[in-house]
């Protein structure tokens, strides 16, 4: 057997398996190291620098998400040099781009002018769409990063609104690359990547085309992965998390049965996301599951029973419709026998609904003429 590998984090001696990163070891032992660019289940890039930790004897900072643990390492996760470095990293990210959330309000100089510029670019008087649900904002609070100069320059790239589902707001992109990982390593749709160099760097689809003309299939995995307000769902752009209630359920389209979270406000489904800790999909969804829920609140929904009279439908009460149905079915059963009636149950409704239909067909109608349209 291998000699036991150990590492010391904040004074705790911990075992690890070769190949694990410092972050892996810390997480397994419930030691929290903040991360930003790292996306669970994908290869680390070490891009953002938020997860830096100090290797004690060397006095050097390394990124925990992309540095493998080595035997005998001694790590400090919140030393003063670590904290200073994180603060600088966060401040730098905040100072470029339209991060007009509450975290910035504490430094008063130019706030109004800055807000006005952002509102104009957003075409909206709201604060950042991610306000309240932003990893960068959380980190800024945690490390008490405020102020810094505002970048009062116009955003380099205009917002992309030209598709029905996703707003790409490059002015808030911190180039962490989580979306690229989500697209290429989680969903493997290979639609987006880093493009251009230096100051001009940007997340692009092939040939920097708009998403709607690219290989993008609008699964929205990148939106879910984006830690800030750079990728937001178009239909729920300014919805705030504290006004919505989350309800876990199962997608109703295909047989994969992805787990979903409904986000509900005022008795309406506002958006759908994938809970990333639950099988079978671990947070992944497709365009239908994530964005295809308008039908729930469609004005075309049937809301009252209908009875046809002289070739035309009229509204009816439940009692009327149910009585008529029961009476006609009983008559036909009596006149032509139970086997002259058939029931089509549905691959769309719940097990409980199907069971009730099955029991009704066999125990009440007394026929086995029951099927569903899965053959079709």
């Amino acid at each position: 057997m291998d000699k036991e590998n150990t590492i010391v984090i904040n004074g705790n001696r911990l075992n690890f398996v070769r190949g694990e990163t410092i972050l892996d070891v810390a997480m397994k032992n419930n030691i929290e190291i903040p991360t930003l660019c790292h996306l669970k289940g994908t290869t680390p890039t070490g891009k953002c620098g938020v997860c830096v930790v100090q290797v004690a004897d060397k006095d050097e900072l390394v990124t925990a998400c992309s540095t493998q643990a080595e035997d005998g390492m001694t790590i400090l996760t919140e030393s003063s040099s670590v904290v200073t470095s994180r603060k600088q990293t966060i401040q730098k990210m905040l100072s470029i781009g339209n991060h007009n959330c509450a975290v910035r309000a504490s430094s008063k100089e130019n706030w109004t002018q800055y807000q006005l510029k952002v509102h104009q670019e957003d075409n909206s008087p709201e604060l950042c769409p991610a306000w309240g649900d932003c990893r960068l904002q959380d980190l800024a609070y945690r490390y008490q990063v405020t102020g810094g100069g505002y970048a009062n320059v116009k955003a380099l790239y205009p917002m992309e609104m030209a598709n029905p589902f996703i707003i790409r707001d490059f002015s808030r992109c911190i180039l962490c690359g989580r979306c690229v990982k989500a697209c290429n390593e989680v969903q493997v749709n290979n639609a987006i990547e880093f493009g251009y160099d230096g100051e001009k760097q940007k997340i692009i689809a092939r040939d920097d085309k708009p998403l709607k003309d690219s290989d993008c299939v609008f699964c929205g995995e990148c939106v879910q992965a984006c830690p800030v307000g750079a990728l937001v769902p178009k239909d729920s752009r300014f919805e705030r998390p504290w006004e919505m209630q989350k309800v876990r359920s199962t997608c109703s389209y295909c047989g994969v049965g992805c787990q979903i979270n409904f986000h509900v406000k005022d008795n309406r489904v506002i958006k759908i996301t994938g809970p990333d800790d639950a099988p079978p999909n671990y947070g992944r969804l497709c365009v239908k599951g994530r964005f295809g829920f308008d039908f729930i609140h469609s004005k075309d929904r049937l809301t009252t029973p209908l009875i046809k009279e002289n070739g035309k439908f009229r509204d009816a009460s439940w009692d009327e419709a149910l009585d008529l149905t029961a009476r006609r079915l009983s008559e036909i059963k009596k006149q032509h026998g139970a086997d002259s009636i058939g029931v089509l149950t549905s691959a769309r409704v719940t097990n409980e609904d199907n069971y009730a239909a099955m029991k009704f067909t066999r125990a009440v109608l007394k026929t086995n003429n029951i099927d569903h349209c899965a053959r079709l």
Partner: protein, 528 residues
């Protein structure tokens, strides 16, 4: 599925056939793509269309429509001839190997090439690749089942998996991908003409006795009932007088729609229960409004047999009710009380009367679903089927000969049509076509046609053309595309205004009664 979705990432070789997975089961396709990209799995795609997955495939076989038994027998011919089969598995777990062996003998690569158009070398390579894997998974969908020979196709896939010992192991299996969210559950619950919930036959007197006792009734019918594909034509002949249709729209999904419409109009009484008015609902005498999935509690069973919770997030609009409540109220009015207070109460009854669900409860699946069979409350569920033995003990090989599709092209109808789905829509589109964004991405129907055929028939890209079969015709926009091969066109079936199923052929598989949606003969002309 015999195996789980996550299990796909453990396969060494993945054979996908008759499934346009990236469009129809997108999240599942990410498991396949990840296996190829990060776990070195080898992907074999067998599909007449140049689907997205072919870009990830190590090997793509492109058979002519409806020739699945031929290429499958061809693969097995090579595997046996090259002595690559799993002799221990065949010896211990199966019967009738000799019958299979003599059947596939004539399916030499050369013979198979003549039928399927797949070059010999590809057949040999695919056979070696699949048989050489420690674990090989087979995934298939409607492209396999929606043929007159659908049952044969499925059995042939099982033959291939057994031949290589790929059943009952992680990363293996024969895995049907269910098209609709709760097909598995509808079948599990006995929404079938011949079985109660848990696939217990209605012909079994002991089972009937048990159900009679539990339900407090007598004389449960013993004769298996009719499938949907039989009920509709029998409405036409007058043998079926009334239909109660819950949440389905056979008027768009039925093969040979023109006939379906006539049939339904012959009924004495039609009740349709749905969340929207549909083409089928328009023909009904009574329409009952039901709650949609976001408005109800319950469970769905996914394609890997995982029973998962559905939870109410919002109230149903005005007077729409849960489907089970509506059904129960009709029952009550016909003299049989069904007084359920909650879906949980129904689920408890299901668990009591369905051995494979006996150990499942709402409490147990609160956070994460369970795989059936799950016979007791401390049973962990069964992710992989057939690890020790098959349901009937030993697995039986079936000797299956190739039968060509029911309809052939001729001078008048010179092209083959195949149908399917697109990413942005679902089934007959009642839900997705009411979502603006999805409609914006895929607003109208189209016919995919190869550049060669476009030239031959004088069809311009983007122009409106008329597609006609022996049963009907529709107008659709032409999309000249590399997806299809010369001689074949493709039309999605989601669009009621250009319903592909006006063209399709209602010839049925003799066992499953599934219509042959995937092959029929058509002709093209410029739309008038």
């Amino acid at each position: 599925m015999t195996n789980t979705i996550g299990d796909v990432e453990d396969a060494e070789v993945i054979l996908v056939t008759g499934s346009n997975t990236t469009e129809n089961h997108p999240v599942l396709s990410s498991f396949i793509k990840r296996a190829v990209k990060f776990k070195n799995a080898k992907l074999i795609v067998v599909d007449p269309r140049r689907i997205k997955l072919t870009e990830f495939a190590h090997l793509w076989l492109r058979p002519k429509l409806g020739t699945d038994v031929a290429w499958l027998n061809g693969l097995m011919h090579v595997i046996i001839a090259e002595d690559l089969h799993d002799k221990a598995f065949i010896e211990n777990r199966t019967t009738d190997f000799e019958k299979l062996k003599s059947m596939v003998e004539k399916f030499t690569p050369d013979y198979v090439k003549q039928i399927t158009g797949i070059p010999e070398a590809r057949i040999i390579e695919a056979a070696r690749l699949y048989a050489g894997a420690r674990a090989g998974a087979i995934l298939y969908c409607m492209g396999i089942t929606q043929h007159t020979t659908g049952t044969d196709n499925v059995k042939s896939l099982a033959n291939l998996a057994m031949l290589c010992g790929n059943l009952g192991i992680a990363g293996g299996g024969v895995n049907p991908l269910r098209g609709q969210n709760n097909v598995q559950g509808a079948c599990d619950m006995g929404g079938l003409p011949n079985v109660f919930s848990g696939y217990r036959p209605v012909t079994d007197a002991t089972v009937r006795k048990e159900m009679e006792g539990a339900w407090g009734v007598s004389d449960l019918p013993e004769k298996p009932g009719l499938t949907v594909t039989k009920m509709v034509p029998m409405a036409h002949t007058g043998e079926i007088k009334a239909l109660y249709i819950i949440g389905e729209n056979p008027m768009v999904s039925d093969a040979d729609l023109n006939h379906a419409e006539k049939s339904l109009s012959h009924l004495d009484f039609l009740v349709v229960q749905d969340i929207f008015m549909t083409e089928t609902g328009m023909m009904a005498d009574v329409v009952l409004p039901s709650a949609c999935f976001a408005e109800k509690d319950g469970t769905f069973s996914n394609t890997e047999r995982r029973v998962q919770r559905v939870r109410k997030a919002v109230d149903a609009p005005k007077d729409a009710w849960n489907d089970w409540r509506i059904t129960s109220e009709i029952a009550k009015r016909m003299g049989y009380p069904m007084n359920y207070k909650s879906s949980q109460e129904i689920f408890e009854e299901i668990a009591r009367l369905t051995p494979s669900y006996a150990g499942i409860s709402y409490e147990r699946i609160e956070r994460q679903g369970l795989y059936w069979p799950c016979p007791t409350q401390d049973h962990p569920g069964t992710p992989i089927l057939h690890t020790q033995e098959f349901t009937r003990g030993k697995g039986m090989f079936h000797a299956i000969d190739y039968i060509p599709p029911a309809e052939k092209t001729d001078d008048e109808y010179p092209l083959y049509l195949t149908t399917g789905r697109v990413l942005y829509h679902y089934h007959t589109g009642t839900m997705t076509r009411r979502t603006e964004g999805l409609n914006e991405r895929a607003p109208e129907s189209f016919v995919e046609i190869s550049a060669e055929d476009a030239k031959r028939f004088g069809v311009e890209d983007e122009s409106m053309i008329t597609v006609a079969s022996r049963r009907g015709e529709i107008n659709v926009r032409a999309k000249v595309s590399k997806m299809v091969e010369e001689g074949t066109v493709f039309i999605p079936f989601h669009y009621a205004e250009a319903a592909a199923n006006k063209l399709t052929h209602a010839a049925l598989d003799p066992v499953s009664n599934i219509p042959e949606y995937k092959v029929c003969a058509i002709r093209l002309s410029r739309a008038a």
